[in-house]
Symmetry: C2
Subunit: 232 residues, 2 copies
DNA sequence: TGTCGTCAAGAGCAGTGCTCTCGTTTTTTG
DNA sequence: CAAAAAACGAGAGCACTGCTCTTGACGACA
């Protein structure tokens, strides 16, 4: 009973769940989150609509699965981008991570909107989403940890870190931002904030009639944010 | 016929449109955009559901009205914040504008999500939204124009402005960023991007388990972004 | 006064999320 | 191995949505 060889029913159940999420993700990528319909998914699977509730008791549960997948996808993209860089090329690693996020968002706009757009009404993120949601942030933090260890973070110190942030910084230093001083952590978070702000603006049309070559502008912003955060 | 005294019918029509948007905005602020129902609004007005289509032929039209209102509200908040500052206190004006955006967003999360969250599926922003949508950006640009005229913008020049941005910069310089050099415009846009990125992160839960005192952290980020953009 | 456009109302259509019941099949238990 | 339990697909049904169409009344304007 504890063995890995599951019963036939469990196997087909897992396969059906996979198929449902795949179809749902395809619908999501064309119709958007609000246009996702359990009935339409069931129809495409040849099921009657009520049968799908055996696998996802609620539409929110299906959305949660898609959200987790999306977080993992962008997390993997960032991890892969980082892995392809020389360890000591901190600016290069930063830039590749930023590019990975932007590229993934442009390639999967609706999935990106699912995790960085408006939270769906009444939707409460379950605990299962916390870990996948922090994968990208952990990678950024690791970059700062490495840069700090190499002694290449240069902070201006022209804007005093608020005392209220000391506690958060201490907690973060114990887990992800190992050894990074308060100001480095805070500026890292601000730079990370900028990255998603820029992707949001580009994706949601805020740069219309303002910026023509978004890629070049993003490159400049990301690079200057790396400097802002003290990376050298 | 051209006088301001409209016919009785036109007056009651305008009044009804106002009442509908008011009720809709109230529903929006409690249920969120996707939970907004034309039928529920009609019900609350004592109308039959079909009657409401005389005033808003489609749900998107109602949403458009709310979106325009929201843009105008944040635009007014920014304008009011700026008006309360000494003209030569550029950092102070920048900070007050940032605070105004954040405060408005926290006070009206669903309306904020309407304009800075996921675009509703299939929704195409009509031209009526362009002007209200750019009010806040114009105020930020004006700040940089004033600072430039006062000669107080100090740019590091450590990150070369991409050539592809020259055209955009020239166009922007003719209208809103009068006299501001390319790098100033670009850094201003990046800083402005950060502001909304930070508000998004705070509002949509990205800072959960990361930042405790969001106000203090926002203050630090906004101030350091002012320096980043060259304001002194 | 009569015509024409505007209006509220009602019925109706197609679609949604979700629930409940009912046989059937599979798994687990005694 | 047989009986009890659990999981399953199908179908009907409920309450709700956006939106359309028709009908009859009312107000504006000639």
């Amino acid at each position: 009973m504890m063995t890995a060889s599951r019963t036939a029913r469990e196997r087909v159940r897992a396969e059906l769940i996979r198929e449902i999420t795949d179809i749902a993700r395809r619908h999501l990528s064309t119709e958007g989150a609000a246009g996702l319909s359990l009935r339409a998914v069931a129809r495409e699977m040849g099921m009657v609509s009520s049968a799908i509730y055996r696998y996802f008791p609620t539409k929110d549960d299906l959305l949660t699965a898609l959200i987790i997948d999306a977080y993992n996808a962008v997390g993997e993209a960032v991890e892969h981008a980082d892995a392809g860089c020389a360890r000591e090329d901190f600016i290069g690693r930063w830039m590749e991570m930023c590019r990975a996020i932007r590229a993934w968002a442009l390639a999967h706009p609706h999935e990106y909107a699912l995790i960085h757009g408006t939270p769906v009404p009444g939707y409460q993120a379950p605990d299962d989403t916390i870990d996948p949601a922090s994968r990208d942030g952990i990678m950024f933090a690791r970059l700062f940890t490495d840069a700090q260890a190499a002694g290449t973070i240069q902070l201006p110190g022209d804007t005093p870190v608020p005392a209220q942030f000391h506690g958060d910084a201490a907690a973060l230093r114990e887990t992800v931002f190992v050894g990074v001083p308060d100001e480095g952590i805070l500026r890292g978070i601000h730079a990370w904030t900028w990255v998603y702000g820029a992707v949001n603006f580009e994706l949601f049309g805020m740069y219309n009639n303002v910026i023509t070559d978004r890629a070049a502008t993003f490159e400049h912003g990301a690079l200057s944010m790396a400097h802002y955060a003290g990376l050298r």
